[in-house]
Amino acid sequence: MEVFVVSLLNGLVYGMLLFMLASGLTLILSMMGVLNFAHASAYMLGAYFAFTISQHIGFWPALVIAPLLCGLIGAAIEMWGLRRVHRNGHVAELLFTFGLALIIEKVVQMTWGLLPVPYRIPELLDFPLFTIYGTHFPAYRAFMLLVSALMFGAIWLGLTRTRIGLIIQAALTHPEMASALGHNVPRIFTLVFAAGTALAGLAGVIGGNYQVTEPAMAFTMGPIVFVVVVFGGLGSLTGCFIASILMGLIQTFAVVFDVSLADLLARFGFVVTKETPFAEVLTVTLPRIGALLPFLMMVLILVFRPRGLMGTRDT
């Protein structure tokens, strides 16, 4: 039971972090059709910026400045890069962001080195908030939950209460309609791309010290974010939210439950031995395939329900 509650909380924290990353990507993918491989790179940049800024002026300014920097970079990429590449089709756009991801990783390595940087959580939040069943729950994780919840609220308000938000909502489900209505689509694209990148940057700021800030963090996070977006479904932020939380919970719980298919079969009186066909597959335990689960889910959902959980159209 205690494992359950702690894992639930940790899963929520991780899920909200994923959502911050995935929400921007969902917006970009649904509206612009761009599979943005550089999205997780913005997450990494956010973490590194925050590391440097917090060394000089502290964590709290970094919380604001780093995402803004990321947003500016995003706007620049969209205006001077993507818009030009757009003419050459979706594959070109995707490869453009792929090239960007390579460059950003290398630039990060060249600026901050190959090893992880000591980006630590601020002292103010470095204490256990409460203790359940003998396990401490760090205050920083609560803070992460708070920030992401606030962000979620802000996005929701922005999308439902402002004019531009309503246009974005319309463009989410019917991208071709927005331009037909005569809105300044390029500017909206720039805005969405910048906002999405800034969100990813913010996720980096609060996630970088929760996980590890290292040059490979973009390439480990990237595919998982894609999984969340596909799983949630194109054009649906709600779907994206549910998928994020689900993915967070699955990944957290997978680490906890030390069971395998063989254990399951044993319950039905079927004993797996070394001689059983596929014994290796059957005896592998859940924690070991934890990292594999998201991709398994992605493949399954694309085969059986290509529009994702709540998508408005096929991926």
Binding site: G33, L35, G81, R84, V85, N88, G89, H90, V91, A92, L94, L95, F96, F98, G99, L100, A101, L102, I103, E105, K106, V107, Q109, M110, T111, W112, G113, L114, L115, P223, F226, V227, V230, E280, V281, V284, R288, I289, A291, L292, F295, L296, M298, V299, L302, V303, P306, D314, T315
Partner: protein
């Protein structure tokens, strides 16, 4: 005789490829340069891989992020077959090991293809990416088939050669690679001229129309994917023979990305584009990665430049000259090109210098390396080299802008003439 006239280019290529390693032959010791042979064998294998990827991307419009899965699984199959032959369980000539890889790739192409070809476009890209991650994770996890992190090792010397060749030297392996590369390339080229090959083009262009002329696009994708798996597997089989080991990175996302890079940089769709792209990518990887820490950065920049300025790839750039060549005035571009050349070199030099300076101040310093040009050690901390590099880059860009204007004027005039003479299609 007519057969010779039509196929002379293949024979010429074969002759050149056989002769090329002798440029690096060490006559004093009487042996080939192992590095060059391995590099060229790698190019051969990767060219098969890239061409098989082009069967999906260029021919059928399917963007796969997990093509290495077919390559790697083919390689694992071939490795197991070799070990079985060594153990005496089965008999198979060394020359046919790549075929075993091909059949393995084809089998997995059909099985996995059955899952992934339900989708097309973005969903196809995503599902192949998921599958790629899944298989590479599984490769690290399961010992039986994949051998875990250590992979599967083989000994390619198995005394079953049909030609009586031992395959102890890289030269012998290189000849085998070359033979298979030509067979595979020829077969893939022929496949584009079959009903399936053409209908794959049709589903790429307009899958709905293909349905209404009687074809099931899913079936077309599945068969194309399966055949592509066969050729990728042949590549995997050769890979095993060259390196005598197969590990999880043959199925990894990085390997898949290589195929994508090669095909796109070379130019998708055609036949020579992917081969050209493979040469560029392998040389960049093997050559530049030896010289520079920052080779991935160069690849990334090259990629972005290509996507932005040459979406048709290198082959597209070459073919842009076709109308001018056809009116016989290609020579008039020589001077404009020569004028732009120093500018391009300046930009390249300045950019490379800047990147290397930056790379050596951080990564190089951490590894205790020093930047040296022609033996002279350069202090990356002093401002002078930085200024020189930035100056070269800036000057190069200004010069390029100036040269580009003249070039464009000349180019446009020539194209206009070509159009007037009706050689533009």
């Amino acid at each position: 005789m007519s057969a010779f006239r039509r196929h002379w280019i293949w024979l010429l290529a074969l002759a050149v490829l056989l002769a090329f390693p002798f440029l690096f032959y060490d006559w004093t010791k009487g042996r080939h340069s192992g590095f060059v042979l391995t590099l060229m064998s790698e190019i051969g294998v990767m060219a098969i891989f890239a061409l098989s990827y082009n069967m999906l991307m260029g021919q059928a419009g399917l963007l796969s992020f997990g093509h290495a899965v077919l390559f790697g699984l083919g390689a694992y199959c071939a490795a197991h077959v070799v070990n079985l032959v060594k153990a005496g369980t089965i008999w198979l000539p060394t020359e046919l090991v790549p075929l075993a890889g091909g059949l393995g790739g084809m089998f997995f192409g059909y099985v996995l293809g059955w899952l992934v070809t339900k989708q097309r476009a973005t969903a196809f890209a995503m599902i192949t990416m998921g599958l790629g991650e899944l298989v590479s994770a599984a490769a690290l996890m399961f010992m039986g088939f994949f051998g875990g992190e250590g992979g599967i090792s083989i000994d390619r010397v198995m005394d079953t050669s049909l030609l009586g060749v031992a395959y102890t030297s890289p030269w012998q392996v290189y000849c085998l690679v070359l033979a298979w590369a030509f067979i595979a390339a020829a077969l893939m080229q022929l496949q584009t001229q079959t009903p399936l090959g053409r209908i794959a083009n049709a589903t790429r262009d307009n899958f709905e129309r293909a349905q209404f002329v009687g074809y099931d696009p899913r079936m077309v994708r599945l068969l194309q994917f399966t055949l592509s798996g066969f050729f990728a597997g042949v590549g995997g089989g050769l890979y095993v023979l060259i390196y005598e080991i197969v590990t999880f990175d043959t199925v990894s996302a990085a390997k898949s990305a290589n195929a994508l890079l090669a095909v796109y940089i070379g130019g998708a769709g055609g036949f020579f584009g992917p081969i050209l792209g493979t040469i560029v990518v392998v040389l960049l990887q093997s050559g530049v990665s030896l010289l520079s820490n920052a080779w991935l950065l160069y690849v990334g920049v090259l990629f972005i430049v290509m996507v932005m300025y040459a979406p048709g790839g290198l082959i597209g750039l070459i073919f842009m000259h076709a109308p001018i060549w056809r009116i016989g005035r290609l020579r008039e571009l020589t001077v404009p090109y020569l004028k732009a050349l120093p500018a391009a070199l300046l930009i390249l030099a300045g950019f490379v210098m800047l990147v290397e300076l930056a790379s050596f101040t951080t990564i190089g310093a951490a590894q205790g390396k020093k930047l040296a040009i022609a033996g002279a050690v350069i202090d990356t901390g002093s401002p002078l080299p930085w200024l020189v590099a930035a100056g070269a880059l800036g000057l190069g860009i200004l010069w390029m802008r100036f040269a580009a204007r003249g070039f464009r004027a000349r180019w446009d005039a020539l194209i206009e003439d070509a159009r007037r003479q009706g050689v533009m299609s």
